[in-house]
Each structure stands twice: as structure tokens, then as C-alpha cells.
């Protein structure tokens, strides 16, 4: 998935979050108000739905930014 498309699609799933516009490839997840366990579940489901890449919860917790997550997906996409 193309990088800008990936970001804009993720944003759709968080469209009701007040600070969703802060999400970009470099902002740290923990600096986003909406970042919590449900946000992680949503991203894990989104990544599997859109790319087929399965991410374990512990692995997800190891990513600090969307850039790190995206790079992992690109490496693991089949």
C-alpha cells in the first residue's frame, strides 16, 4: 500500500478522535490523546484487513511511530 494512502486510510478509522490530524509518520503514538489499547486493536485489525500482515499485540507495542509500523508491514507483506 502506498504510504500516503496508508496514512489517510488509518485516519478514517479514527475520524472521531479530536487530535487525529496530529497523526503523521513521525509523531510518537504515545503523544496522541487517543492512543490506548483499543487504538492498538484497531490498528492491528486495520493492518490485517488492508495488507494481510498479522501483528501480535507485543510487536505492535514495540512501534513508537507510524513510520516504524509501515516499514515492518512493507518487509512482511506477501
Amino acid at each position: 500500500m502506498e504510504k500516503n494512502d496508508f496514512l489517510s486510510k488509518i485516519k478514517l478509522y479514527f475520524e472521531e478522535e479530536p487530535d487525529i490530524e496530529k497523526l503523521n509518520y513521525t509523531v510518537k503514538f504515545i503523544d496522541l490523546d487517543f492512543w490506548d489499547s483499543i487504538a492498538k486493536f484497531k490498528i492491528i485489525s486495520f493492518v490485517e484487513d488492508e495488507t494481510g500482515v498479522l501483528i501480535e499485540e507485543e510487536k505492535m507495542m514495540s512501534f513508537f511511530t507510524l513510520e516504524e509500523l509501515y516499514n515492518y508491514i512493507i518487509k512482511n507483506i506477501k
Binding site: E17, I38, F41, K42, D49, E57
Partner: protein
């Protein structure tokens, strides 16, 4: 002759648990953040002396009063509950007696949670279609909060107690229940579970473990693996919705309102975005009662009717999913 929903009512216990009270107990969660994450402002909690049949009776009495129903015409009761008054006997039998219904009335319980209402509709439709019953009372009632540990902040913030009552009949003026889709994946049985107290683990052990993430686990109480359930739902419910549309030979644009099990706002939003469904056709009713387990669909349905979102001629898709894992969907033409 059409077989469908003729009347519907619900009951919520008087006692209310507000986000502010949860926040006072769990200061790491503000009341605003609970509301934002769950879509819930308050849940109704049965008091110690209020049982599942008590809630059910109140829902049925509301139905009888609101629609001026002669209860002697009711010839079958289906009660959907996972929190019965007793392990034995069947709660539906207790309700038959307490309501003073005819002794020729059939009565059974369905042990299902959030998918149970749609399953109940299918059983009722089958009974009427086979000429085994004419006026069926479908009850959903759960006092799930009695089985949630006081320190379980996640589930306490989500769930509330409630009961609903629906009358199903066959007549030209009623709504028409279409074809159903069902699904089961019992491999997920332990993702929503009360492990102790049944025949497998008869003895309660009152052992609470505090996990690294700050949540607690006690096998005597209700447990839900949020991540696994979220993934199960977001993967399977869109497929279920597409299947029920296909089997009823309609496309999603022809549905006037989608009424899904009111699990939590995040999960419902995910399904809506994934399926590209318009917000105004996707009914959410969580703020004033939370996730009411087996009653969430009939409560939402009733509220959608009250709010005028469902009127004569509306086509509604119902989908239930959860504990089991069990899932089910149907189209109802009002």
C-alpha cells in the same frame, strides 16, 4: 401471511452507574475519556435483590401496557439469557408462572449472549411458520453486572443490565422477518467466559490476579479478551452482513438502517468505516445504557422506532455477535 415483530419494549433498572463514579474509582481514567472511548455515559445496574426474571417481567409488563396486549393469547415464551435466576430450572418457566400465562404455553431458554436476539427471532419465526405457535413472546434479559468483578474497570465501563420483550405474530400488518445467516466459532469460547461455577469447574476460588496492564482477572467472574474479540468481530461481522444481504438478494444501499449489537462505539465505528456505511444509516444507542448484552439489539431497535428512524416500510438489518463465538444476522421489513 407475514411473520414479524408486532410490538417491542424494554426495561432498564433504576440504579445508574455514571462515568464520574467510575472515574472516582479508577482515577487513571477521566469520565470524558470513558465517554470518548466507549460512547457510554451511564449504565443501569440491577440491585442485589433484582434478578433476571424480575427485569424480564418489567419489560413484559411494559410491552403489555404500551400495546394493550391480552397476555392470555401468548402461547410461547422464548427467554434469551446467560444469567438465569438459577442454573436449574429454565427462567422462561418462572416467567410463565409469574406473568400468569396460560399453562398450555410453551417455554424455553436460549443460552446465548449478544447474538441471542436474532437467534430468538429465527426460532420464533420457525415456530409460527410450522403452525406450532401463534403469538410468541421473545424475552432477552441479563444481569451481567452481577458477574463483573468490582475492580474490573474495563467491563464495568462497558456493560449494563437490561431486559426486552418482543411480541412476534403472523398477520398482514406486522413486519416481515426475512432470511437469516448464522455463524459459530467455538474455538473462541474462552475469550468471553465465566470459568468457574459450572459443571467443568464447580467450585469458586475467589482468586484475583492483577495483570501487568493494570487489569484484573478472577475466574469466578466475567472475563473478556478485548483484543481477540475485537479482531474476531472486525473480521467476521462485515462478512456476516454481506452474507445476509446476499441471501436476501438486496444490496446495502437498499437497507434503511443497520442495527448491530451495541458492543462499544469503537468497534461499531470500525465496522461502519470498513464497510463504508453512511453514518445516518448506522444506529448507535449506547450512551444511556451501555452494552446490554442480549438486550442491546432490541433496545436499539425500540429506540430507533421511537426516534422515527424506523417507520412503516423501513428495511432494517440486524446483526448480533459475541460470546461463543456466535453470530447471526437477518433483514426485517417493517
Amino acid at each position: 401471511m407475514k411473520i414479524g415483530i408486532n410490538a417491542i419494549s424494554y426495561y432498564l433498572p433504576d440504579n445508574v452507574l455514571l462515568n464520574e463514579e467510575l472515574s472516582a474509582n479508577f482515577p487513571e481514567w477521566s469520565s470524558d475519556s470513558i465517554q470518548r472511548k466507549t460512547g457510554i455515559c451511564q449504565r443501569h445496574i440491577s440491585n442485589e435483590s433484582e434478578s433476571t426474571s424480575d427485569l424480564a417481567i418489567k419489560a413484559v409488563n411494559s410491552l403489555i401496557t404500551n400495546y394493550n396486549i391480552n397476555k392470555q393469547y401468548i402461547d410461547f415464551i422464548i427467554t434469551c439469557t446467560q444469567t438465569p435466576d438459577y442454573l436449574i430450572p429454565t427462567t422462561a418457566c418462572i416467567i410463565q408462572d409469574r406473568l400468569g400465562l396460560s399453562k398450555s404455553c410453551g417455554a424455553l431458554d436460549i443460552n446465548l449472549g449478544c447474538s441471542g436476539y436474532v437467534y430468538g427471532l429465527s426460532l420464533a419465526k420457525g415456530l409460527i411458520h410450522s403452525d406450532s405457535a401463534k403469538n410468541i413472546l421473545l424475552i432477552t434479559s441479563d444481569t451481567i453486572t452481577k458477574f463483573i468483578h468490582n475492580d474490573d474497570k474495563g467491563n464495568r465501563s462497558l456493560f449494563g443490565d437490561a431486559a426486552s420483550a418482543t411480541l412476534l405474530t403472523s398477520d398482514d400488518n406486522s413486519s416481515e422477518i426475512g432470511k437469516f445467516c448464522f455463524g459459530t466459532d467455538g474455538s473462541g469460547y474462552d475469550n468471553i467466559i465465566i470459568k468457574n461455577g459450572g459443571s467443568k469447574n464447580r467450585v469458586l476460588n475467589n482468586k484475583t490476579i492483577k495483570e501487568n496492564n493494570g487489569f484484573i482477572k478472577n475466574d469466578d467472574y466475567f472475563f473478556m479478551n478485548g483484543k481477540n474479540v475485537f479482531q474476531f468481530v472486525t473480521k467476521n461481522v462485515p462478512k456476516l452482513i454481506n452474507e445476509v444481504l446476499e441471501i436476501n438478494k438486496i444490496n446495502k444501499d437498499e437497507v434503511d438502517l443497520f442495527v448491530l449489537h451495541q458492543a462499544n462505539k469503537q468497534m461499531l465505528d470500525y465496522i461502519r468505516v470498513k464497510m463504508n456505511l453512511p453514518k445516518d444509516k448506522f444506529f448507535i444507542y449506547l450512551d444511556s445504557c451501555g452494552n446490554t448484552y442480549s438486550s442491546s439489539i432490541p433496545i436499539a431497535l425500540n429506540e430507533a422506532i421511537i426516534q422515527g428512524k424506523i417507520t412503516k416500510g423501513s428495511r432494517v438489518l440486524l446483526a448480533g455477535f459475541g460470546v461463543g463465538y456466535s453470530y447471526s444476522a437477518v433483514i426485517v421489513d417493517f
